[in-house]
Chain length 302, copies 4
């Protein structure tokens, strides 16, 4: 049959940075310390295309995904990012004309959470991962990977709390009594969604669970599926004792990383973002920053 | 040209209830008391199909939508539901084989809101509308219409407030002092999304703005785009002085309708639903009910 | 602690039809003939609320979901609808004041598909299920269940094909040569998304895989993740040899059900809908119908 | 009242790149040559935050949006990107501590389209725009702007067309007759969604309508809301006479830009991406590239 893809393009002989397949949904089995997690992941898999070629052989992308992802049902992989790296390597093998392959994946991820052992249940988080394989002049490929995690928790607003304290004080002067010092007062609180991404480079490894734990610790409070009456009160109280702007969530998260991930090299870049679904507004408030582990370590107070 | 649609179906000679076009996006100009609102609306427009006909002439649906909706740029219509009714009537005209035409529309809708005149701005709400035109034996059509509105506001939880009061009382016994009677204490609060739909029948008319006002009054508090520091505190305080479960929002909304809409006949059916995006959970809590104005009036306390 | 939920409502003493939790995401392990499938499912779980009670004890809904769904990691259930039925029964147990419990679930579902054994891979479909448990006067509960499935396939338009045949004939008179009789000519084709739902009642059982097979057989062609050049051509050719309107997909699907599901009782109701994402329009074309197995059997030609 | 935002952050004294509000929906009136378009736009508006400050005064962002966007109801602006630039400038004015303000907006956009004057109707496209204002050492701000547009059209696959030609030839040898030379044969076709973004810098101006026209010209065919039988055939025929991979759409679009936009300076960067919702697959095929007008001009054949 005529190989239309290998023909010369009619017009616009440009090398294209990225040609691929996207929105491919697949079950991916990942072996974690506790058990095998079956993630429902969404993949994009692409390569570059040289100027002299009309099309990319995209059926190969679907084949590579099927071979690598589908076989995890029998033999789970270590992580979402290692699956991405394997796929990126294999894409370079099968697209001889490509110099770079890029794979991205996202998935929901379930971890047990609970205010006590009796009230634990699976809660949903999100994972993100990717890999870029670059063909090396001397043969073989260099593969950079990244991994991300997202957790929904809760923030209580520190500013509205102070304003409400003043409003209530005008009505209830007794609130100024020193015996009520430190009393948390009403504020607005809401769902907060925070995402942390590490650009790992070639060798560094990191556990997604540790990234999720770092996020949850930076919010006013984690949230839980099962909360009986007393637990619910304690979660609300905890959140109001740690009121946070999105700015605080982001800074506290970033500041905690050097201690939480001592083995990650200075070159690892961090992208962090956070969004609070403000209960008092119809819109969200958010913050984002990008920084390297080296910069974070130099900024950290001794 | 061969009229493939008018041929007999190959198999499965069934009358089909609904065949149409959906996801049609259009700007629709609506004349309100204050000004012309240009809604970006999404339409579905469908008719039934008799058993002896292979296909419905769906290009007519696109034509009717273009004629009726596009000309509102020059001559605005009175309401989203009246546009739906006109489209439904016209569909019956052009699909001679159909006995029923159904049109549905949804749109974002902007109203000025603010805690004071100086802080007013456009806030987003949602409108829903529909019409069903039924061909009458004696000629002509009977058209039933429905209209819906949705508003995002805020709820504060009455249960967590009592639990927190007890937790705080154990730590701050002074809170039991009668001079602090009625002090609102911390609770979880969050965005609440409430929808109200009236099945108007043939003649009844209602203002969407009045439906939105009814919803906002039933929530713990409306929310606002612009809140300077003191305003923010007052909104939080108001919400904590009117703590509500979704059950309360729904019942208070339904109970308010007879007084707010005295002119609507008993036969008008009401569908109401409400969902709180719980700040302490990753999931939502919701409630829904369906009832007629007649039932609401009979249930209302004298 | 004060039981705020059990208090009397402040206003609007109405029985509410449905109060619950929604958007709960959970991994659910289902034992199928071939293997254990881990579905990522979204649940809603609700009960009704009597007029004398302010709130529903919704933490129980989260507990029941955790107990029944989370334990499938160790002991898979038979089906999504049986999980819904178990949850609905248990909700009635724990909400003594409720007369009805309703559970709904949706999930992605992966089945192996391919044009040949060498090119098989997991393709994504969707499952839907639900159960309504009604408390019986004599004790115990009656549980009605429903199950749905959705598949994406392909339709080619029979009308545009005939129009294009006429246009091409004017330009290429040789096309009228009888040796070209039956030649499929160009048309528009596109993704088609078709959903089939069975309201099973109390006892009937059905396999989701058989529902998906029925849908795929009613489309112009199924679609596949892996298609090498020749396969791609054959899929396109198949689709153009079976050109179908959405009306044809719906009727052919409904007409095939009595033969495909001979054991389902006449009382089982069928809801079917189909939507083609028209390549020549920015909007979709869709059709929907509702009918019982009994009606389908009586309509079926002998 | 205590200014909590101006306090020092508790921990993690980092300058944050971006703190803002997002998901703000507003009607925006834009004066075009033909008429005033009322866009429903979604905004994000953010500034950076110095290390010594706990929080950003985000109510100012909502105020600026209200002032600039809401007043377009009375006095329409020239374009979405000029509104973004005004907002960004004003944010820098009101956040004295910020060095950079970033505003992003997206909106649906309706243009009249049709295969003939009698069949014109409003079709939906998408607009994107943004502006970054950077405070200058000498006072004032430098404002860079970008603008993007997206159009849905249609692609027909050139590869499947050749494969189908070979398959049909085996069955209908008469197809090899030279009198049938150039006969377009069946292929798969589908919706294609293509986006074009120009980073304009400080001074360059461009019309969104011209960007949309460039996209539509690069697809196999535009699509239309109203197509009577013969028109439908001609659109299908046109698309099959211009079969295109996503790679072709992207290259043809990029190659057309120097001639279509002769006045844009070489420094303007172009980001283009395209995605075909493959009718034969459940996933999409896409391509993306980034290049400057200067590079495109040097690559263009004379």
């Amino acid at each position: 049959m005529k190989d239309v893809h290998a023909m010369a393009p009619a017009r616009g002989q440009l090398t294209l940075r990225s040609v691929g397949v996207s929105g491919i949904r697949k079950p991916l089995a990942v072996q974690r310390t506790d058990r095998v997690h079956t993630l429902t992941a969404t993949f994009r898999a692409a390569v570059d295309l040289p100027s002299e070629r009309k099309g990319s052989d995209l059926s190969r992308n679907a084949e590579v995904l099927a071979e690598i992802v589908d076989r995890t049902a029998l033999q789970p992989v270590h992580s979402l990012e290692s699956a991405c790296a394997s796929i990126a390597r294999e894409l370079l093998q099968r697209h001889a004309y490509a110099t770079e392959a890029e794979v991205e994946a996202s998935a929901e991820y379930f971890l047990e959470r609970g205010v006590s052992d009796a009230k634990r249940s699976f809660e949903d988080f999100a994972l993100f991962a990717g890999a870029v394989a670059s063909r090396q002049a001397k043969g073989g490929a260099r593969v950079r990977r990244w991994i991300g995690a997202e957790a929904v928790g809760m923030t209580a607003c520190p500013c509205a709390m102070e304003t409400c304290r003043e409003l209530l004080l005008a009505e209830y002067p007794l609130l100024a009594d020193p015996r009520l010092g430190g009393l948390p007062v009403i504020s607005h609180n809401q769902r907060n969604r925070t995402r942390l991404v590490f650009e790992l480079g070639e060798d560094a490894e990191v556990e997604a669970d540790a990234m999720i734990a770092a996020i949850e610790a930076a919010q006013s409070s984690p949230t839980y599926a099962i909360l009986k009456r007393g637990d619910e009160g304690r979660v609300v109280l905890d959140a109001h004792r740690r009121p946070k702007f999105v700015e605080d969530v982001l800074r506290d998260l970033l500041a905690s990383l050097p201690e939480r991930f001592p083995d990650l090299p200075d070159s690892v870049r961090v992208r962090a973002s956070t969004s609070s679904e403000e209960s008092i507004h119809k819109y969200n408030v958010d913050a984002a920053h990008e920084v390297s582990f080296g910069e974070l370590r130099r900024a950290a107070p001794r």
